[in-house]
Amino acid sequence: MIEVQDLRKTYGDLVAVDGVSFTAEGGAVFGLLGPNGAGKSTTIGCISGLLRPTAGSVRVLGIDVVGDGREARRRLGVVPQELALYEDLSARENLDYWAAAYGLGRGDRAARVEEVLELVGLSDRGRDRVKTFSGGMKRRLNFACGVVHRPDVLLLDEPTVGVDPQSRVRLFDLVRAERDRGTCVLYTTHYMEEAESLCDRLAIVDHGKVIAHGTLAELRSLLGERDLLRLAGAFDPAAQRAALGALADVEVVQCEAEALTLALPAASRRLPELFEAVARAGGDVRETTLTQPSLETLFIKLTGKELRQ
């Protein structure tokens, strides 16, 4: 279990994490979803003890990571965003080294290393040096190094970056297997689909703040089953706001000279009515995008921007 309370981390004037709180339970995958620079890695750094929080508290399995760092680290597994591997060593040697770093005894290590190699599908490449591996293989080994000591809490920082679809599916299976073992998994990503398919609970972060959190269902309900309609063209914001605001069940999410974003139920059936209203207010539509409710639309609704930009 991970309990993060009012976590704050600043670098000079820059606030990387700004009062983040969440609780991730064992036997579940908790997702931290956010765009580049949202503060995901910084949060993970504070939980793993790599970074000292400016304020707030982080407890892992009830242990304060600042107060009793060593004990907390013993129970933690970290799969960092960057590949942290020795390129000159073989996969097996890497795993054995990190297992030792996590306190596994010599006798215990050999069997566990083989087990983990098997798990990530690298058994037949165990003797090869890491520098001869493909990107996806390195990702899998990076994952293996984080779980080799059977951690109770696993922190995964964008583990699928630069990975092909097959390797990604394989990594997902590995994450689910860890979860089913009872591990508390914290998974950061900026891929909506990953969060939707993998995470039991989620926190959406932006600019160091949690802007929404809950189960997938709870987050979806925030949208109220409404579709998102985005219009690009030339608009008079004031006139549009007045014209569209008068329509029933239509929420104007964003209203600018070149972009309009509306949230409304069953938008596809109301398109003629909407276009007419926009045209009457002097608008000129060049492009229309209709999106069904998803984390993507929720993110757009909450921040007025797309997640991946």
């Binding site: 680290r73 970290v78 942290a84």
Partner: protein
Amino acid sequence: MGYLLRSAHKDALRLYRDPVAVLLWIGIPLAIGALISLAFGGGGSASVPRARVLLVDREGTFLGGLVAGALSNAGGLFAVEEVAEEEGRAALARGEATSLVVLPGNFSEALLLEEPATIEVLQNPAQRILPRIVEETVSTLPDLVFYVHRLIGEDLRAMAAGPDEGTTFPDERIAEVSVRINRLVERLQGTLFPPVVDVEVVVEREDEQDEGPQVGFALLFLPGILVMSLMFVAQGLGEDLWREDAMTTLRRAAVAPHGFGAFLGGKLLAGAGVVLLVSAVFLGVGCLYLGVPLARWPAAAAWGGLLGTAMIAAMFGLQLVASSQKAGNVLTMMIVFPLLMIGGSFFPFEAMPGWMGAVGRLTPNGWALEHLKAILLGRADATALLAPTAGLVAAGAACFAFSTWRLRARYGGG
């Protein structure tokens, strides 16, 4: 303990798989050492050199000053004095100087107009090494003049004759000369001719004389070369922290429960293995070659290993003070090279002016070098080495503690 050894094993394995780096650290100083011993013929019987060069300028022009300057710049090995001829010959006869260089009366004319001339270099036969360096250095001067002549001799002669009375050279004339120089440089590139200005070496006295304690000349260089090698190895191993930083393995190590103590300790241990191996092999070969009793070898190798290990710890500290790999390299090089230079690795203390040798012996590497030399010369027994060994261990431990502290401060974790 298990993790410490596992860490050492990991780094030893990484070094073993990147042998080029290790060979370079060891190879560069060895190459320098080989060159030095080739130049001086190795051998353990030459006497301690004292380099006092007396210069007699029969002509008394500015060229005499040039030669004096050239000799003075030859690595700071010589103290050059201009003297009157009789006085110089007398001093050499009394064995008070290394060499007497006599520039002939037609020296400047000969150089300018390419006429034969003879520079006499009279040697003190009791000394073997430095007189040869003087001779070599002097002989480069006419070589240089000769090649300049091959390139622009005609113009040089014309210029030497000077412009017509009361005028200066017109611009066209100067431009013409420049063009010709360019052409000549192109045409004569790579063409070598023997110089016409001879250097005749006259060895004044043949009788050998005793010069006090016989210290093998190569033995003056050998420990210095080892210290240089150890310094380079330490420097390279210190840089390994930046490789671990780039691979982000340092950050993974930071979040592992064992923390940095054993991580860095393992790296130091692996490095200690390398420097001990380097010392043992280098000194083993050196002892055999120079006829140093092999009984002195284990202590000397152990001292080298200990010194190298302390140096690695110091290099860790320096790299961890620097904010980037580049800054770390500049910082360590700014410290390493002056230390090597003055600390007796490039030039033995015995060949330095007294004050410089005294300062050099105070540098950490110079201090360690003197002890190494003492061991090799059989002048240091076990009890005399106790305090220096304790000092070296303490210094290394302090550097290591500082480095671990810096590592924690920089990368967090344990």
